[in-house]
Amino acid sequence: MTCLPELVPGQKKLGLVIDLDTCVGCQSCATNCKEWNTSGMSAPLPDFNAYSAGAEGVWFNRVHSYEAGEGAAGKTVHFPRSCLHCENAACVTVCPTGASYKRAEDGIVLVDADKCIGCQLCAWACAYGAREFDEDEGVMKKCTLCVDRIYNENIPEAQRQPACVNSCPTGARHFGDLGDPDSKVSQLVAARGGFELMPEMDYKPVNRYLPPRAHVVPEQGKPVEDAPTPMDIKSSLLRFMDKVLTR
């Protein structure tokens, strides 16, 4: 069914919160995503010309880098882009076959590869470029929010979160229920002023991004390192006097 599920009170909305302040653009989320998902429920994620010029492939996560602002207030920001599991997911409603669907129980947007006819209309309908076409199988593929990890009782409980979250070395990625205002991720979004991407599309994305923190401008005046440290005083007598007088 490609109609969107009715929202119920306390609707579970699983999603990601991505901290643009701490993301270092290391690509580990993208790499671990590719590694897990190429053998997960949407397997394989094919590559084309993998060992020659023009190598490309299907990835669910792409890490861009941007510059924002000018001068001292300017920032270099690394920006991971993946499916936002929108509440108002146009990629679902345009699907003619029912292959693209949004789960009522947790809001994850998935593709049933056995029903997909590869018309690619969903990729056109996504404002964020989250869907990539598998040209080998002729079906659309997308982020599954690691639905085959987060409920997987065969892996240790601590690892039951999306591969991208697991691998992030700076803890810039958080996973949880954004429909529950008391969840850790919701509290984080509230505390840091998390925002949604392209709100003017009215797709109501579930994922949130945390803005880079403001610059801490160092206090003006004499730099502290100008003062001699005890190491700069060569004579042991003078060093002793410095110690006494400093007290």
Binding site: G69, V77, V94, T97, C119, L121, A127, E137, L197, P211
Partner: protein
């Protein structure tokens, strides 16, 4: 957006076929189509050949064409599904009308042809709404897009019917007049549409797409990958601006205005010359519409390019 040849051909060929069915039904109900059964059968046959060729071509766009039947299931939410349902429903009254002509039940034939005309109109409207409902593409989610698809389908259908009537030795003046009217309307609409998309405000900026606009002007620094990918090939298609302008002119003058003018000329010239004029007008119109549909894709921009190019 990357022009998809199979879809360009589909909307032009099927559009002309549905336009032809529409005018046959309408003029038949008005008693303006002669009683020759063979002529009506030829018109229905040609319309169905064009429609079927277009629909088959559209299957080439699919990654899994063998599952295409599944596309008929989601008509509650999807315009593509509605289009598929409407396209198949149109066959029923169209073939029914042809059967009634064969069996001599002319009253039923006229009635069923009128039903086929309404189904044809609905199908073309559904096709147009596939594009018009895609919010991230401002050149498609435009109020003139549905009107454009319908008017241009009726234009090519009228030109085709006028040609067929002239070739059959009937008086083609009514469909020729419709070709003139809808050709003129189409030219005016496309001119207005191009003016509108050229001055339209962008849907979003890189600042709102990334949320970094709060810091200041945002610009791409490093791309996420050094080579291309599906998104960039499919959504990032760019046609050189100067070519777009000359292609627009060719579409407007050679594909719409000139055929409308030839249809007008055929109104005052009778006989075989009129048939020739109408034939040339139809061929020009179909070629012009292929160009127009190609431009519909080539000039369309998608919000995802903001992430890659910043614009």
């Amino acid at each position: 957006m990357k022009p998809a040849g199979s879809i360009v051909f589909f909307t032009v060929a099927s559009g002309a076929g549905y336009g032809l069915l529409f005018w046959l039904g309408l003029l038949g109900a008005g008693g303006l189509i002669g009683g020759d059964g063979l002529f009506v059968l030829t018109v229905i046959g040609l319309a169905l050949v064009l429609i079927t060729a277009g629909l088959c071509s559209s299957l080439l766009h699919l990654g899994n064409a063998s599952r295409a039947w599944r596309a008929l299931s989601q008509w509650r939410s999807s315009w593509l599904s509605r289009e598929g349902v409407a396209a198949i429903l149109t066959y029923i009254p169209a073939i029914g009308s042809a059967l009634c002509v064969l069996t001599g039940a002319y009253g039923w034939a006229v009635l069923l042809a009128l039903v086929a005309a309404l189904c044809s109109l609905a199908t073309v409207y559904c096709t147009s709404m596939i594009y018009a409902s895609l919010k991230p593409i401002k050149e498609w989610a435009h109020p003139l897009v549905p009107a454009g698809y319908v008017i241009l389908s009726l234009f090519s259908g009228a030109a085709l019917l006028a040609t067929l009537m002239a070739l059959a030795g009937e008086d083609p003046s009514v469909p020729a007049l419709q070709a003139l009217v809808f050709g003129g309307l189409g030219a005016g609409l496309k001119w207005q549409y191009w003016r509108s998309i050229d001055t339209a405000r962008p849907l979003a900026t890189l600042g709102t797409a990334t949320g970094l606009g709060r810091i200041g002007t945002t610009r791409p620094l490093d791309p996420p990958h050094t080579q291309s990918n599906y998104i960039m090939r499919e959504m990032g298609f760019r046609v050189a601006r100067k070519h777009a302008l000359s292609l627009r002119r060719i579409t407007l003058w050679a594909g719409l205005a000139l055929p409308a003018l030839l249809a007008a000329l055929s109104l005052v010239i009778a006989g075989p010359l009129a048939a020739l004029l109408l034939l040339v007008a139809t061929l020009l119109a179909l070629a012009g519409l292929l160009l127009e549909r190609w431009l519909m894709f080539a000039e369309a921009t998608h919000t995802v390019t903001l992430f890659y190019r910043g614009t």
